[in-house]
């Protein structure tokens, strides 16, 4: 148990002046353990693992495998040393089958030709041995997220990896899937594989990991046995300050309905209903959570509320009027929108931080002189917003492209929360965001709610909704499977049952039903 299989020593890596991803990092993993590599976004954990996997090159430092010094210049080198990595964004070719994906790059051949039979056989035997059932002839495009993840792991196993790196593996899984996934990881460990999990989710570290190494701002804070360290200690070491007291959502000072969704139906192009007779109210001064496995109507709901999709039946009432049909006129009614995909919809990657954060202010009278911008005033506003949200950056004029995910999201949130007049639609506002940024964003959203605005929070992170919302609706296949008035009185398991459609709440909220 105590033989280090891998040791990384004195690893240094910087991306240009001032951006240090790894500063003399030391990291050591023992054979047959599940090791958490924890830290905030931008702490350098993914960079460290990319160095190990040959995707980035360290400027200094040494890597020892079984006490022998090795050099890794490419993923191929890493694989030949028995190191495999499952990326946060899956690396599957949708058009190919599971078997083809698994053997891609190491295709079995017979008489010089691609031996599909052997590939399928390999997948079958691996999935049997490691208890990861998956159909080798299925096309990757048709798999659900959890199965795709299994295929990724099989890919790594097919290359005889001894050390498997998983980059935030549970970000896309439901609680039930996560549980099952953890059992599979334990099976892998018991069969002698060594696993490194990059994560910042503390409960998961506690649930499955043997040891933890914490990074902060590119430095190793330390390596600990998980059994010897408490969650709050881990959190403190990750952030460097005392963690916030656990948040209990305030009783909502619920006011008048700001946004009323009434019997909305949306049909897909082939007549399949994506939203079925959906009704709910969002009141001023409340934060309403939208819970559900992805793909159960969240996208369509957000589409309807932001003018992207016209519902086939039903209507939406915003501030006592009919919802306008375009996002810009919806915004004029005081609605703000934090989109799910910050890279494509949230920011303009080619623009500067200032341009991004002040984009909405630019239509504002007091930032204009005739057709011209008041550039000094915009800078002042830009600084006010970025400071209010603690955006860590060089200069306001820098391209937003170089910000870390968390800081980029803070820019988006600063812009939208600042502009919010009545309603904020927050679609996955903290996905892939580190603990520090998450706290800032949550604090600001909570302040906005306390100021009497209505917030619709769509999130795949149950913890987030439980921390912020008192009331929530659970979507399943385009319907509201349940409307929970007090989340604190509902267990996570029960929520999971609603999410999977195993359980449904029959009587919908009476007020809506009588409509």
């Amino acid at each position: 148990m105590t033989v280090p299989i891998l040791r990384m020593q004195g690893i240094c890596k910087s991306f240009g002046p001032g951006i240090i991803a790894a500063d003399d990092v030391t990291f050591s993993v023992n054979r047959g353990e599940i090791h958490a590599l924890a830290g905030e976004n931008g702490a350098g954990k993914t960079t460290l693992m990319k160095i190990l996997y040959g995707l980035e090159k360290a400027q200094r430092g040494e890597i020892f495998l079984h006490d022998r010094r090795i050099t890794i210049n490419s993923p191929k080198d890493a694989m030949s040393h028995g190191i495999g990595m499952v990326h946060q964004h899956f690396m599957l070719v949708d058009e190919l089958t599971v078997a083809e994906n698994v053997v891609l790059g190491i295709e079995p051949r017979r008489a010089g030709l691609f031996d599909r039979k052997a590939a399928e056989h390999l997948v079958r035997s691996l999935s049997e041995r490691y208890d990861m059932p998956v159909e080798p002839t299925a096309r990757a495009a048709d798999l659900n997220v959890a199965t795709k993840q299994k295929v990724e792991i099989l890919k790594v196993l097919a290359r005889n990896a001894e050390l498997i790196i998983l980059d935030e593996p549970t970000a896309v899984l439901t609680p039930q899937e996560t549980k099952r996934f953890f059992e599979q990881l334990k099976t892998l460990r018991d069969l002698g594989k060594t696993i490194v999990i990059i994560t910042h989710k503390l409960p998961e570290i506690k649930a499955i990991c043997d040891r933890i190494t914490i990074l902060r701002k590119g430095r190793t804070i330390g390596t600990y046995f998980v059994s010897d360290i408490s969650e709050s200690e881990i959190s403190r070491k990750m952030i460097g300050t005392e963690p916030p007291p656990e948040r209990f959502p305030q009783a909502d000072s619920a006011g008048l309905p700001r946004l009323s969704v009434r019997h909305i139906w949306c049909f897909g192009p082939h007549g399949k209903a994506a939203l079925k007779d959906m009704s709910f109210d969002l009141r001023g001064g409340e934060m309403l959570g939208v819970i559900g496995v992805e793909g159960n109507g969240q996208r369509e709901l957000v589409g309807v509320l932001t003018g992207k999709i016209v519902p086939d039946h039903g209507n939406v009432i915003l501030n006592e009027g009919i919802l306008p049909s375009s996002l810009s006129s919806i915004r004029k009614e005081g609605v703000s929108f934090i989109p799910e995909d910050r890279m494509n919809d949230g920011v303009d990657l080619d623009a500067s931080i200032e341009e991004n954060v002040t984009a909405l202010l630019r239509q504002n009278r007091d930032h204009l002189v005739g057709p011209f911008f008041k550039s000094r005033k915009l800078s002042v506003s830009g600084r006010r917003l970025t400071e209010g949200f603690d955006v860590r950056m060089g200069s306001l004029r820098d391209s937003i492209r170089h910000l870390s995910g968390g800081n980029m999201q803070k820019v988006v949130c600063a812009r939208e929360i600042d502009a919010c007049g009545t309603v904020l639609i927050a679609d996955q506002p903290t996905r892939g965001v580190d603990v520090g940024s998450l706290r800032t964003i949550h604090d600001q959203m909570e302040a906005l709610r306390a100021a009497g605005k209505g917030i619709l929070l769509i999130s795949s992170d149950l913890q987030e909704i439980r921390a912020l919302c008192r009331r929530a609706i659970i979507l399943h296949q385009g319907t509201i499977a349940a409307e929970i008035d007090d989340l604190s009185a509902c267990s996570e398991e029960e929520l999971g049952l609603y999410m999977l459609g195993i359980k449904r709440q029959e009587p919908v909220s009476p007020e809506v039903a009588h409509e």
């Binding site: 694989m79 690396m91 070719v93 190919l96 891609l104 790059g105 659900n144």
Partner: protein, 320 residues
């Protein structure tokens, strides 16, 4: 009507369809291979022009049609290599490289022909000897169409269709080309040299376009002229799109375009009705445009259908 009936009942018409479809099949296969590698290769047209010229030149110089064909393929490979150099090695935009190749080829062909002969459009070539397939040629009708006086490259085209199908179904290279084309990041993450694979695919495409060009100047005709490719490279790309990238389906659509082309030529001899031949000449291109519109409508329906289907299967598996 009797004109039409006479036309459709004559084996010569179908033989002409085959002849006209052959260059389209080569062009379409070149488009298949490029597209699978994730490259929209509009340089096929220009590649065919230069290949046709090279085939004519070298067949005359060497006195052998076979040498001409080999040199045509060589010219195709060269252009494929040039495309790869620009688009893969130096990461130039694919469309821009394609436009450059097309303009370069058109200009270069005129220049070379003028430099050698002093006229600006034509250069003679040595035609390939057509084959008669013994026994088979005696089959009534079918024998006349398929096995009598047929250019060897027609058989090569048919062979290529199945070779390309085999490439993507059964070979490691084919699977890797697919992976590189559909998800280069994923392919690179498992250690596949994406640039190398793309280059190989573009070379194969260049070679196929080269065969198409050589067929035009040494098979379909026995000389080169500068306007002879006449958009066939683009029609090939259209056939690929309508065939959805499947080699056999793509070849069948190339055959359809060949048939329209043959019809537009034959209809000029009709006596009962007179349609201006300029109008008839536009028929292949009109069909191409119409085909693409129909295709994209079908494809649009399918894709929306597919995405909703995918959502269902996702829900199902989550519900299990």
């Amino acid at each position: 009507m009797s004109d039409l009936w006479n036309l459709l009942s004559a084996p010569e018409f179908y033989a002409m369809v085959l002849q006209l479809a052959t260059p389209l099949v080569f062009a379409a296969l070149a488009a298949v291979v490029s597209n699978k590698a994730g490259v929209l290769n509009i340089g096929i047209e220009g590649t065919m022009v230069l290949a046709a010229l090279a085939a004519a030149l070298f067949s005359t110089w060497s006195g052998s049609a076979f040498v001409g064909v080999v040199c045509g393929v060589g010219a195709g490979l060269l252009m494929g290599g040039f495309f790869a150099l620009c688009a893969v090695r130096f990461r130039t935009n694919h469309i821009l490289v394609g436009i450059a190749i097309n303009l370069l080829s058109a200009g270069l062909a005129v220049f070379i022909v003028y430099a050698i002969t002093g006229n600006k459009s034509d250069y003679p070539g040595i035609a390939m000897t057509p084959w008669d397939v013994p026994l088979f040629k005696e089959i009534p009708f079918v024998g006349d169409v398929l096995f009598r006086q047929v250019n060897p490259l027609v058989f090569v085209a048919v062979l290529c269709v199945f070779m390309i199908r085999f490439l993507f179904r059964r070979t490691v290279l084919g699977v890797r080309i697919l992976a590189v084309g559909k998800n280069p990041v994923a392919a690179a993450s498992v250690g596949i040299h994406t640039r190398r694979i793309k280059t190989v695919a573009l070379l194969i495409a260049g070679g196929l376009a080269g065969l198409g060009g050589a067929y035009l100047s040494l098979g379909y005709m026995s000389n080169f002229n500068t306007g002879m490719v006449a958009g066939r490279g683009f029609i090939g790309i259209a056939a690929e799109a309508i065939g959805g990238g499947h080699p056999v389906a793509t070849a069948l659509f190339a055959l359809v375009f060949g048939a329209v082309n043959a019809f537009s030529l034959a209809a000029q001899t009709f006596t009962s009705i007179t349609v201006p031949y300029e109008l008839l000449n536009t028929l292949p291109y009109l069909t191409t445009a119409a085909g693409l519109v129909v295709y994209s409508l079908i494809r649009y329906r399918q894709s929306t259908h597919h995405s909703s289907k995918r959502r269902i299967s996702h829900e199902k598996s989550v519900g299990d």
